[in-house]
Symmetry: C2
Subunit: 227 residues, 2 copies
Amino acid sequence: MRSYDEYCAIAKSLDLIGDRWTLLIVRELSLRAPCRYTDLRNGLPGIATNLLASRLRDLERAGVVMREDAPPPIATTVFRLTPRGADLQPILDGLIRWGLPLMFEQHPQDAIRSHWMLRALELMLCDRDPAGPPVSIELDTGDQPIVINAREGRLSTRIGRAEQPTVTVTGPMKPTLALILGFASTDTAAKEGLAIKGETDVLQRFALNPHALGATPPPTPADQAPT
Amino acid sequence: MRSYDEYCAIAKSLDLIGDRWTLLIVRELSLRAPCRYTDLRNGLPGIATNLLASRLRDLERAGVVMREDAPPPIATTVFRLTPRGADLQPILDGLIRWGLPLMFEQHPQDAIRSHWMLRALELMLCDRDPAGPPVSIELDTGDQPIVINAREGRLSTRIGRAEQPTVTVTGPMKPTLALILGFASTDTAAKEGLAIKGETDVLQRFALNPHALGATPPPTPADQAPT
DNA sequence: CAGCATCCGCTTTGATACTG
DNA sequence: CAGTATCAAAGCGGATGCTG
């Protein structure tokens, strides 16, 4: 990208990370480093391969990304965030929070990768009964299963299958999100194609973290077409 | 911008605010709304006027910006952030914090606008003697003078002249920044072309807010060219 | 197959000129 | 003042080819 040539911290940040695809590459590395070139391509559907190579070079020069030659058994290059790159997390988190309302507009052409949801779930979800027994929720809703573990008020998420899920939700991503954030009842969820197995009531325990969003309610279609 | 077509909160945010110039327009409105079209152009040196018009339309559709017809005496359209647009502040702040180290690379071609520094100074600066007497610092270093007021541990900044500045710093922006953040002594500052008038010692009272940055030290040229 | 580089058609951007 | 119109140049997306 050409520089904005402004003596302004925001502009200078955007000079380095404001290019198309750049922050999504950082997202990928923040969610599952170390990452091979091919992993990155899979996590960035639609990116042109020359552009990915070019961006990785730029990010390396900017001190955001580093490449390593993985040890013999793997014998390939892997990419990671540098500490300076990891410092971008607050910006990614800000984008996740601001973008949550937009997740309720799912377009048919939208690609889905389960790992994109991991950090979002950690940020947005809150356990309203931190003293309750530990539970693990499995979401089978994307290309890979997601596990949410709640234990002593702390939430963690990962890709994989739960050994003994307290409850398992199967179906499309959007209603699943609405369900666990408490925006939809289990009845509504079922109508939208979700199958819930196990202790359904456990889902009531979770809700949207009240600190997660700004004070402004999500814009509705009505806001955009006032009469 | 074309959509990334990803069901991911970060990607969906970037679909709306990831275009070139877009976040800088939001910056302008966050720093000095309401803003006329011409004010925006002045705060965004280098933007093509058709692009500004196009971005403003996009931001309006996205619910981030609103336009108003100013009342008769002014008789022009002005632009503001909507509440939803104001919710972008944490993202702008993140970019400011991450970008601070980059402010110590000032290029000759970099445009300067004093108001770009206002939020950065508020975020980065900390009063180490909150119980001390109120002081006001004037910085004459850009296209307009900046006033920093410190009172009871709270810092505020504005464009304008102080009525009775405790101290006034005149000269280029970069050494001024280094001086008030405590990265440079008054001697060093003088060598870089700064003139300091008034109670010089007051400047010692301020320093970089330790909470302002991530834990990672700024990258140095040495990091980029290892031997 | 992993990790690119090259080529090509298209879209976006930037610079300038022009208008109500 | 607040934009629209025009056009050259740069960037992007997609396909393909090359190298270990």
